[in-house]
């Protein structure tokens, strides 16, 4: 076997240089691996925050000038004096599975959503059924600013300056029959605009329901805006329900159908896990979720936790709706 020519000593890289080069290479490879790991981490964790610019609502009645015609206890409940949660957090921390199951991912996924040509059908046990477009909805009453606490079943909470009017005003229009005992609500079903509906996390469309007396309560709000502007898609545009003494999931978003019915209607989360989410879903610190306590809550934007209040602090206004009911059974 012929010997390969040996390189002369002076062209061989000296060992100090050779090994320092190798050390450099190793450091470089470590740095490259760190860059890859960092990118993977950020891919899973970066919170994208597109700004929210919605048109101002016309004719908004500010919270400070809520009509004196309301009883004082009610007027007080219409505007909590607690500090409102920032618009940024209200519009970038959403449970809206129609777009994403990631609360911070909903805002990123609303790009294809449009409310053009929106119609809301009101039917069932009513004297005057009808189909309302958004103009019809706006004409029913001027939007009032209602500053409500919002308590999510997941133990976080916000204070939100909604805009809208009592849902009872819409019911007055359609005149429920005496046989109507419940109101059933349905969200839009449109997987093209709502990408979350392409997966079967929940049975689409989302449905919710209230007892008629709950729906008639003046605190129950048909909301069309927040922070004095039209509702952003991620918060339930164009029209949603807000029931401040119940867990947030009762506040059905992007409503297309309202039916007055005789029997308790199915509701999405209750159907998904009946032991975890009841039909009533009143905020109740004494009735734990099977997997976590409901005694305290994380107010978004605050440090530390605060105790959760019975009926989310609206007991004075709504407790009478449930007198004599076992709230541990009807959770």
């Amino acid at each position: 076997m012929p010997q390969a020519p040996q390189p002369s000593r002076d062209v061989v890289t000296p060992p100090e240089v050779y090994f320092s080069r190798r050390a450099f290479l190793k450091a470089g490879m470590i740095a490259a691996s760190l860059a890859v790991t960092g990118t993977v981490y950020q891919r899973f964790n970066t919170i994208y925050s597109p700004p929210v610019e919605k048109p101002k609502l016309a004719g908004l009645v500010p919270a400070a000038s809520i009509p004196a015609s309301y009883p004082p206890a009610l007027a007080q409940a219409f505007r909590t004096n607690e500090a409102p949660t920032s618009l940024q957090n209200i519009t970038h921390y959403n449970n809206f599975y129609e777009f994403s199951t990631d609360k911070e991912g909903v805002a990123e996924n609303v790009g294809d959503f449009s409310t053009a040509g929106w119609k809301i059908t009101v039917d069932g046990l009513v004297a005057k059924p009808g189909v309302f477009d958004l103009d019809d909805i706006r004409k029913i009453a001027a939007p009032e600013e209602r500053i409500y606490r919002m308590r999510c079943v997941e133990t976080w909470s916000m204070v939100i300056p909604w805009a809208g009017y009592s849902f009872s005003k819409l019911l007055d229009r359609v005149q429920p029959l005496s046989s109507a005992k419940y109101v059933a609500f349905t969200t839009l079903l449109d997987p093209k605009m709502m990408p979350g509906q392409r997966s079967d996390v929940l049975d689409w469309p989302y449905v919710e329901g209230l007892r008629l007396d709950e729906a008639m309560h003046p605190l129950t709000l048909l909301a069309t805006g927040l922070y004095g502007r039209e509702l952003p898609a991620q918060d339930g545009a164009p029209v949603r329900l807000v029931i401040p003494w119940k867990y947030g999931f009762k506040g059905i978003k992007s409503i297309v159908k309202i039916s007055l019915v005789a029997d308790q209607p199915p509701t999405s989360w209750n159907r998904y896990a009946p032991e975890e989410y009841g039909f009533y879903a009143n905020v109740n610190p004494n009735h734990p979720h099977p997997r976590w306590s409901q005694a305290t809550e994380q107010r978004i934007g605050e440090e530390g936790r605060r105790p959760t209040l019975m009926f989310n602090g609206y007991g004075e206004q709504v407790a009478s709706l449930y007198s004599g009911m076992d709230l541990d059974r009807y959770y």
């Binding site: 760190l34 790991t37 998904y272 306590s293 978004i300």
Partner: protein, 230 residues
């Protein structure tokens, strides 16, 4: 080849120059730096207020996800070694496992410090009354003796076989962690489903190798038994 100079003689005496082997090979050092990346980002994001609307939840979820990910990676090392025949991969297994334990500890510590607001009573109450928390806690308990025996002297003291038998509990810890992950997820179970599937594949693979003599022999032939060698 008497004229050839052995590179080992010229190599500077620092163990840090070796990719593998030695007390702190470069590859493992690099891996440990990588394992710290989530912590660096988490602390950085926390200091800059970039953890989103609910920073405590975010920190709890991140540390938990990292812990269960590292657990699965630690269990993936041996199968990868068997398939590839790269015996040196074994040194990474311990780093993954040990750091899974550290992140799991951070996960519990953040829950105790910020979610339960430093109340031992409320932490203990929640863990004992919410079974998904209990399952997560058990995973940490199972990891504790594994972490405590994760250094060379412990292997010598226990003996290779006993040490190996003890460290098979890593599968139990990972199963509990995946179960905890699955239970805490509200409805979109895609991520925990993937973790459970990966764990099932790893476990099945190990069982196949163990109970199918032919594949076992093949695996042995590919990767020399390093038990006792640490």
């Amino acid at each position: 080849m008497s004229s050839a100079v052995s590179t080992a003689d010229l190599r500077p005496a620092s163990p840090g120059y070796k990719w593998i082997g030695g007390s702190m090979p470069v590859a493992r050092f690099g891996l440990i730096l990588n394992l710290l990346v989530p912590l660096v980002f988490l602390v950085g994001d926390a200091c800059n207020g970039k953890l989103g609307a609910d920073p405590v939840k975010e920190a709890i979820h991140t540390t938990g996800l990292v812990a269960v990910t590292y657990l699965l990676l630690s269990l993936g090392v041996t199968p990868l070694r068997m398939v590839s025949g790269w015996g040196w991969l074994v040194q990474f297994r311990r780093s993954f496992g040990v750091f899974a334990f550290y992140y799991a500890c951070a996960h519990l510590a953040i829950y105790f410090w910020w979610d339960r607001e430093r109340s031992l009573g409320s932490t203990a109450y929640e863990i004992t009354h919410r079974y998904y928390l209990m399952i997560g806690f058990l995973s940490l308990v199972v990891m504790l003796p594994l972490w405590a025996t994760s250094f060379n002297a412990a292997i010598k003291k226990l003996g290779g076989r006993r040490w190996q038998r003890l460290h098979r509990w890593a599968y139990v810890a990972a199963a509990l962690a995946c179960w905890h992950f699955y239970l805490q997820t509200k409805a979109d179970k895609r991520r925990p489903d993937i973790y459970i599937a990966v764990l099932a594949i790893l476990l099945l693979g190990r069982l196949v190798v163990r109970f199918l003599p032919s594949s076992r022999a093949a695996a042995k032939a590919k990767s020399p038994n390093r038990a006792g060698k640490s």
